[in-house]
């Protein structure tokens, strides 16, 4: 177990370095010119350009810039916990080129929005995926099965942006059931013109959740249906019936337990992936999550923010894959971590 964790952490470090390097390289391959943007585009003066390039170190070679970035992120520092200095990496993602805001703050503000969207959406798509998947498997070719397969086809084919626009037009604009776009904070209570608190928050999240969950549930219905149908034909399911177990017990203890093993893996990976930013859903509903932050940052050639989001999503994916592996070993006795 310990060896497994160490190996995984080393692997994570390699992954982390490669991903951030690739981001740097792509950024500098693109015809980007952040200093000109900061200095006012066409009207930029040479003095301003030089000054900005100097402050942001944009005139230095890429590898110097990258090492500076890496040093700020993982270089050592200490902080006092109850008077005792504890050494740890600095975890400093730098400042935005444009606003000079700390990237840590930007990511910390955007991450909960994305997390709310992804976890809410995942719960929704699991509910739909499990119920529709299991019932379709129990009654293959029935009306319910065929209906859910049509839904799956639509869910996989429809793009989230298109779905989002249609939803906010009908439910938000035409029917007025939900806000058209926008986000409300979960904690801060409503004050003045703003909004806030759990109710407003959920009200604003309903359409994003549904939009985000549609693709997920379509994929999961199909996967769970196939897994359950495969598992139903296993010999040990026949053994359970031969023992005299009632159908409910056969389904719960023998079929589902085995059929859902691969679903756990998929779910962990999908959540990790989603935390990197559900770009389409966030953009179409103007949710200030990581995906939208990243898209805006790319527009502004704001490398530190892009890099911050990349670092965060890499960490999320690595973390969730680790969680999946550990959980898998826990629920499937055949797998031992070593």
């Amino acid at each position: 177990m310990l060896r497994f964790l160490i190996r995984r952490l080393l692997w994570a470090a390699v992954l982390f370095v490669s991903v951030t390097i690739v981001t740097y390289v792509i950024f500098f391959l693109a015809p980007a010119n952040p200093e000109r943007l900061i200095c006012g585009g066409q009207r930029a003066t040479t003095a301003c350009l030089n000054e900005v390039a100097d402050t942001l170190a944009l005139d230095r070679p890429i590898y110097v810039q990258y090492s500076k970035f890496l040093w700020r992120l993982v270089g050592p520092t200490t902080s006092d916990v109850a008077g005792i200095p504890i050494p740890h990496p600095r975890f400093d993602l730098g400042e935005s080129f444009i606003t000079e805001q700390s990237v840590n703050t930007i990511v910390a503000k955007a991450a909960p929005v994305t997390a709310a969207l992804v976890f809410g959406g995942a719960i929704l798509w699991l509910l739909v995926g499990l119920s529709a998947g299991i019932f379709s498997a129990l009654r293959p070719r029935s009306l319910l099965d065929r209906t859910s397969m049509v839904f799956v086809l639509i869910g996989i084919s429809a793009h989230p942006v298109w779905l989002g626009l249609i939803f906010s037009y009908f439910f938000g604009f035409k029917l007025g059931l939900t806000p058209i776009t926008g986000y409300c904070d979960f904690f801060n209570p409503a004050e003045g013109f703003g909004c806030g608190g759990p109710v407003d928050w959920a009200h604003h999240m309903v359409l994003p959740w549904i939009t985000f969950a549609i693709l997920g549930s379509a994929l999961y219905v199909r996967m769970i249906r196939a897994n359950v149908m495969d598992t139903m034909n296993e010999d040990y399911v026949r053994t359970a019936r031969a023992k005299g177990a009632p159908e409910r017990q056969v389904m719960r203890s023998h079929i589902l337990r085995n059929a859902l093993l691969p679903v756990v893996t998929m779910l962990g990976m999908d959540i990790g992936l989603g935390l990197g930013g559900a770009v389409f859903t966030e953009t179409v509903y103007s949710l200030p999550g990581l995906g939208r932050v990243a898209v805006q940052a790319v527009d502004n050639y704001d490398l530190p923010i892009v890099q911050g989001v990349v670092v965060f999503s890499t960490a999320a994916i690595i973390l969730f894959n680790l969680v999946v592996d550990v959980m898998y070993a826990w629920i499937d006795p055949r797998i031992r971590l070593e």
Binding site: D235, G244, H254, R334
Partner: protein, 340 residues
């Protein structure tokens, strides 16, 4: 009254290509404490017969008729609830492949306890004690410790022992064993068969032993039915089958028994392939492969008729009794000659 009496059992499956008549009018009885061997090639309907009796065929696609009277109650027409009470309690089943017949995510102890708890009103501790007893009875070393192991921690032979323990845990009157030794290696086969015979004496269960291996039949069975293309073609006591077989298919099976004591270059095999059950041949179903085929065999199906002078021996063949006696004697003589 016989323990199990199967009358005119038919199991047909609806498939995309048409109706597959997997079992087509099978009759047999199993007496209390006795062993019936069902022999035949793969796909002759022997497994389906037993799965039908257990009610384990896919409901959506199967059409079942006839009756299977277990202690006078028809298993085929009773409620699902009653059938569940009988399954695993009065009738238990052992399957062919021990590698896939145990649930990989549950400890074997849990799977055994589940079988007890489904039918007996006992505490978990009582069920556990019973499970450990059975594991010991089937020869699992250190049963208290192996109780908490998962199936993948057992070898194939050990898993089949666990399956046998699970089947016998509620002391069933009838044990259906569907090729219990096919998937285990030869030395383990002998151990498993010996174990089953020993436990049969201890528990007094009747056994239906499905196999394609006449050696297994010779070792375990009291009575034998030979199935070919979803029908019974011969039925007799085990001594009769080996000393006076009356059906060319049975001769073929006997001829293809591998022998340790005879020096043969090549195993004798029955020519041709088993027929398709979608469109079985007219007349006698064995006629396309039968070396003794006559014109009548191509058009008229022989009845399952008694053999004169042999009580309870039934056979399905148009050949005259004289020829059959002669050919059977030849086969027997050849076997004896090989042996000497």
């Amino acid at each position: 009254m016989a323990l199990l009496e199967v009358n005119d059992l038919r199991t047909h499956f609806r498939t995309d290509d048409g109706i597959v008549k997997a079992v087509d009018g099978v009759n047999f009885t199993v007496e209390k404490g006795q062993t019936l061997g069902i022999v035949g090639e793969s796909g002759c309907g022997k497994s389906v017969t037993c799965l039908t009796i257990m009610g384990l065929n896919p409901k959506r696609t199967s059409i079942i008729s006839g009756e299977a009277l277990f202690k006078g109650e028809d298993l085929l027409s009773m409620s699902q609830r009653r059938l569940r009470e009988i399954r695993g309690d009065d009738i238990a089943m052992i399957f062919q492949d021990p590698m896939t017949s145990l649930n990989p995510v549950h400890k074997i102890g849990k799977q055994l306890v589940e079988a007890v708890m489904l039918h007996r009103d006992v505490t978990k501790a009582g069920a556990r004690a019973r499970a450990v007893d059975l594991l010991r009875a089937v020869g699992i070393p250190r049963p208290e410790r192996r109780f908490d192991d998962y199936p993948h921690q057992f070898s194939g032979g050990m898993r089949q022992r666990v399956m046998i323990a699970m089947a016998l845990i509620n002391d069933p009157d009838l044990l259906i064993a569907d090729e219990p030794t096919t998937a285990v290696d030869v030395t383990t086969q002998a151990q498993i068969l010996r174990l089953m015979k020993q436990l049969q004496r201890e528990f007094g269960s009747a056994i239906v032993m499905i196999t394609h291996d006449l050696g297994v039949v010779a070792e375990t069975a009291d009575d034998v039915i030979v199935m070919y293309a979803s029908k019974v073609v011969e039925r007799a006591t085990v001594d009769e089958i080996f000393s006076r077989p009356r059906m060319p298919y049975t001769w073929g099976l006997l001829g293809s028994l591998p022998r340790l004591d005879a020096d043969v270059d090549r195993l004798v095999q029955i020519a041709g392939q088993p027929p398709s059950l979608l469109t079985p041949p007219n007349g006698c179903r064995f006629h396309p492969r039968c070396p003794y085929v006559m014109n009548i065999c191509r058009t008229e199906e022989p009845r399952l008729a008694p053999v004169p002078g042999a009580d309870g021996h039934l056979q399905r063949c148009h050949l005259d009794e004289e020829t059959k006696q002669r050919e059977a004697a030849k086969l027997l003589a050849a076997t004896l000659a090989d042996a000497s």
